[in-house]
């Protein structure tokens, strides 16, 4: 029997969030999904988060290098390399056949954001590594060499870093997953905002007050961008924004907003307090992680519920007449 399902009941007391579109009836095959949710697990949102953290940190590292802020430079370069290394590991681990990772490098396909991303990472990773190596207390020739390479490598990493931060939005949006796809006009801005907030936040945790001015501004700017565009995005999406409010992804998105807003406020007020700066920075980092996990899981939910596939497509057909 086919089911004609009424929309799910809204969670009671959900912070007064309003429904974006009127309830719609739709038909499905035994309520089963039309689409398949990605087989990806927590490694992928972790990768999105850490990649963003790394990218923002490379930018901070290069700026710190050029403006004579050695402590900020060191913290940022090391964060960038650690972030990209762990995120790369997560990416490989999530493959069905990790031992075949290198097959990613047999082609370069502009139509595949994952192919494009792999090449971006292949260029970025070693540069971030070379920049971080300059921070190691290596003796002799090796030390001189790494320190010599530190600046050019760091600048080159910073040049590629914005792509590392923004392409991951395309990675999610270039799917049939309703919530990810419908977010495609805004998600890159949400993700670079999130990356800026995370990297600025991490620098507030790690670097001394005297050098964190730029990191503070990057963190606050990123947080504001993320919060503002995320709001716009949900308004533009209609029905498929719903999974961003409900269940676990809804909790994550609410946590993300609270942490990001509080972190940004704390970062502004905490210019003279090492403790407040560090706590605010940690909140921003956590907020960024919540954004990535929230968006990821909302998409997974939207693929599992045929409502988000059938209703918008029906409406599209009706509009076309």
């Amino acid at each position: 029997m086919t089911t004609t399902a009424e929309p799910r009941r809204r969670r009671k007391g959900g912070g007064g969030e309003r429904r974006m579109v009127p309830p719609a009836k739709f038909t499905s095959y035994y309520g089963r999904p039309v689409l398949k949710a990605s087989p990806w697990e927590k490694e992928i949102p972790a990768y999105l988060f850490l990649g963003g953290l790394a990218a923002g940190s490379s930018l901070l590292g290069a700026g710190a290098d050029l403006t004579g802020r050695p402590a900020l430079r060191r913290a940022s370069r090391i964060t960038a390399f650690a972030g990209i290394t762990v995120s790369f590991g997560a990416l490989v681990k999530d493959l069905g056949r990790p031992e075949r990772f290198a097959n990613m490098l047999r082609v370069a396909k502009p139509s595949s954001p994952m192919s494009v991303g792999t090449w971006i990472l292949t260029v970025y990773g070693p540069l971030a590594g070379a920049a971080a190596a300059a921070e190691l207390p290596l003796p002799g020739v090796l030390g001189r060499l790494t320190r010599l390479l530190g600046r050019p490598a760091g600048l080159a990493a910073a040049a590629v870093a914005p792509a590392v931060a923004s392409y991951t939005a395309v990675l999610l949006s270039d799917t049939a997953t309703p919530t990810w796809h419908d977010a495609h006009r805004h998600l890159p801005f949400v993700f670079v905002g999130s990356a800026a907030a995370a990297s600025g936040g991490m620098a507030l945790v790690l670097a001394p007050l005297g050098e964190t001015g730029p990191a503070r501004r990057l963190a606050v700017g990123g947080a504001v961008l993320e919060l503002a565009v995320e709001r716009q995005m949900e308004q533009a999406m209609g029905l498929t924004a719903e999974p961003l409010h409900e269940g676990r992804p809804g909790q994550l998105m609410r946590a993300s907003r609270a942490l990001t807003a509080a972190g940004a406020l704390g970062a502004m007020l905490g210019r003279r307090s090492r403790v407040l700066s560090a706590v605010s920075g940690a909140a921003l980092v956590a907020g960024s992680a919540c954004t990535r996990f929230g968006v990821f899981e909302a998409g997974q939910e939207s693929a599992r519920d045929p409502r988000y596939t059938v209703v918008p497509q029906r409406e599209r057909l009706q509009r076309r007449g």
Partner: protein, 293 residues
């Protein structure tokens, strides 16, 4: 003239595009196609379940289900008598007491899209366009990234789960190949070969499309206005399907998307927005070092 995705993919002088026309109005739900597909392609078993959904205990297409027969039971009010199997003895007079229903059946399969999102997003080139215009996974190249899975607008392809070393091709994306191996030998794909009612018809796509149009016109003349083709139109969001259908109700009744669009259609827009966002981040980073202390 049928579009030729094989030529678009770089094949020189490809053979005519091959496809399936699945006429659901003559499907009897015997599942011979499911069985023949499993047998020929050595697709492993993916569980013995009782799903409580009419005669459908298969559930959905996936890495280990490349043909899936769907069963939909509907009240007779909207139904048209197609002479499909009924309850009771053959020839017995209907006493009018029990509620009649109609049974829709559909053998679902990979659509071998003209614009195939799975193929577009595949980062290894494992998924490729064959000379027959079909879409096939090269299982020795796929590294199981899983990107094709959420990309497919029909929920067809999936990564195979199972115990490594016991089940074959675990971790690799799998789906219908339109029996690529049989096609090379001029054979009909296993499912179409096994179908006893010619509900599954295999052949040159332009010929199938013409035949399907004739069939649907005849049905309309016979007073079955619900009959419609699904995926036969090249101007749809996926450029038409290599495996298309004749349906007797709305697509979503069969679990098919009513208006599928290949996600990569919006990719240029996505890259543009991502480029702008990247520039914004770069500009922001320059600005934060430019001002104040």
């Amino acid at each position: 003239m049928t579009s030729n995705p094989a030529r678009d993919a770089g094949w020189v002088d490809p053979p005519p595009r091959k496809g399936f026309f699945t006429d659901t109005s003559v499907c009897i739900g015997c599942k011979a196609c499911e069985v023949a597909c499993k047998e020929w392609n050595a697709v492993p078993d993916d569980g013995m379940n009782f799903l409580g959904s009419s005669y459908d205990n298969t559930g959905q297409l996936g890495a280990s289900t490349w043909r899936h027969v769907k069963f939909i039971e509907q009240p007779a009010s909207t139904a048209v008598d197609l002479g499909l199997p009924r309850v009771g003895l053959p020839g017995q007079q209907d006493t009018g007491e029990r509620t009649d229903f109609r049974w829709l059946m559909e053998s679902d399969v990979c659509k071998h899209c003209t614009h195939a999102a799975c193929l577009d997003v595949c980062p290894t080139g494992s998924l490729f366009r064959t000379e027959f215009g079909t879409v096939v996974v090269q299982e020795d190249i796929c590294n199981g990234c899983g990107y094709c899975v959420p990309a497919c607008p029909f929920g067809v392809i999936d990564r195979r789960i199972g115990e490594k070393g016991v089940t074959k091709n675990v971790g690799i994306a799998q789906k219908c190949t339109l029996c690529y191996d049989r096609l090379h030998d001029g054979l009909t794909p296993a499912c179409a070969q096994a179908c006893p009612t010619e509900s599954i018809q295999f052949g040159d796509l332009d010929e199938l499309r013409a035949r399907a149009q004739e069939r649907v016109d005849t049905m309309h003349d016979q007073g079955i206005p619900q009959a419609r083709l699904y995926g036969a139109d090249e101007s749809d969001g996926v450029g038409g399907l290599g495996a298309f259908f004749l349906l007797l109700d709305e697509p979503e009744v069969y679990g098919l998307p009513p208006d599928p669009v290949v996600t990569t259609k919006d990719l240029p827009e996505m890259w543009k927005k991502a480029g702008l966002a990247a520039l914004a981040l770069l500009a922001g980073a320059v600005a934060v070092f430019g001002s104040g202390s």
